[in-house]
Symmetry: C2
Subunit: 231 residues, 2 copies
Amino acid sequence: MTKADISLKGTKVQPLKKPRTELEPGARRRKKFDDKRQFILETALSVFSKYGFHGTTIEQIANSADISKTNLFYYFSNKEELYLTILENILNDWLKPITVFEEVDDPEDVLKNYIRLKLELSRDQPEASRLFCLEIIQGAPILKGYLENELKSILQDKSKVIESWVSKGKIKPINPIQLIFFIWSTTQHFADFNVQVKAITGKDLSNKKFFEETCSAIQQLIIDGLKRPRL
Amino acid sequence: MTKADISLKGTKVQPLKKPRTELEPGARRRKKFDDKRQFILETALSVFSKYGFHGTTIEQIANSADISKTNLFYYFSNKEELYLTILENILNDWLKPITVFEEVDDPEDVLKNYIRLKLELSRDQPEASRLFCLEIIQGAPILKGYLENELKSILQDKSKVIESWVSKGKIKPINPIQLIFFIWSTTQHFADFNVQVKAITGKDLSNKKFFEETCSAIQQLIIDGLKRPRL
DNA sequence: AACTTTTCAGACCAAATGGTCTGTTTTAAA
DNA sequence: TTTAAAACAGACCATTTGGTCTGAAAAGTT
């Protein structure tokens, strides 16, 4: 999406003559405002994820978004607010896949599904993944509280599901948290270390074949690694 | 190691009176110089790994090392040289463990051993791991060439070992590069995402029990995941 | 002890950068 | 078409920061 797309939305979609109908007053303006804000956020994510918070200048972002620095400050009162808003948005997407963990289901289905969803995230939102990684590496100054509370409690919840699988003999004994870490690390690796992966394999998750190969390799390893012994 | 250690080495070890014997001229000076340089490197690694290249100021490093900014510039002509030197040093340690891959050996032994070595690295050099990760995430501006050449060829070499295991039926078929990526990602996760791991588990690789538990969890998953089907 | 070289510190500088101020243009609504 | 509010731009500012210059202290050598 480029700047042009945005402007087009605002001007062409609404035929130049008049507002088609009476929306709530200010609705059009609000939408345009929100759209542009959103666009800036996407651009900024792209830049932040490349150079980190400190390595990114407001001017870089403004240039990338094809607006003036001043204009950017019209939409976000300062650099931190911009950065923070992005991180918040990321968290949502990042956590969605984990909802697939439900006790009633078959471990193999759930795990396969979860791995695929996470890998899709690495493919479709690699920048978000990298920004998240940058934040964590640097000590999670912003997200620390979130990790220790929300995330922790969610994981404890999901751990119970895994534990129930173990106690029912559906999978071999394993520390549930370790299992989750294992899935996170292997899937996110392909976003965070994308450059390294590409340098060595010449490929990318955006390559469909490579994606499928990677996906099933991870799935197989984990599924087979969890099969009860002497099956 | 603190700044004090350094000075002590220079002053106390050599009894104040006189040089014990005639070393090559300038040898004492050179050693002192090298030691201090090394100390600065270690301090700088610690700071860089926390805040990244751009997020780190020379003054921060100087303060951490308890020397003046000017003094730092006496040992390193600029910020980049300092950063680069650190990265070079890291690469060496980072690659050492992979030498355990030898065809003659038993896959299980080799893999277990390799996983342990990598995990030890994550435990003992987490800062190095994080700095390396930062570099890769940001597109590996410095290391890209290295990745595409040296590293790639090393991996191709080791891949053959793994492939030979597969063709001999010692392990089930898997893409060797993928396998190596899995090991890298799972082990390095505990250094790079240390904060997250700690936030959720309350523990660390520095915790001996947690280290062993993690090590065998990864080992088991991978070993069992690679066992030939219908054993 | 004298002398030379190395090591270090404080003042200083120029560029970069986050952010503001003032005023102009654009736009939606009437 | 008019008008008030919203959107935007350029000049400007204060601070930070990588890096230099000059000279003083420290250490090694004879």
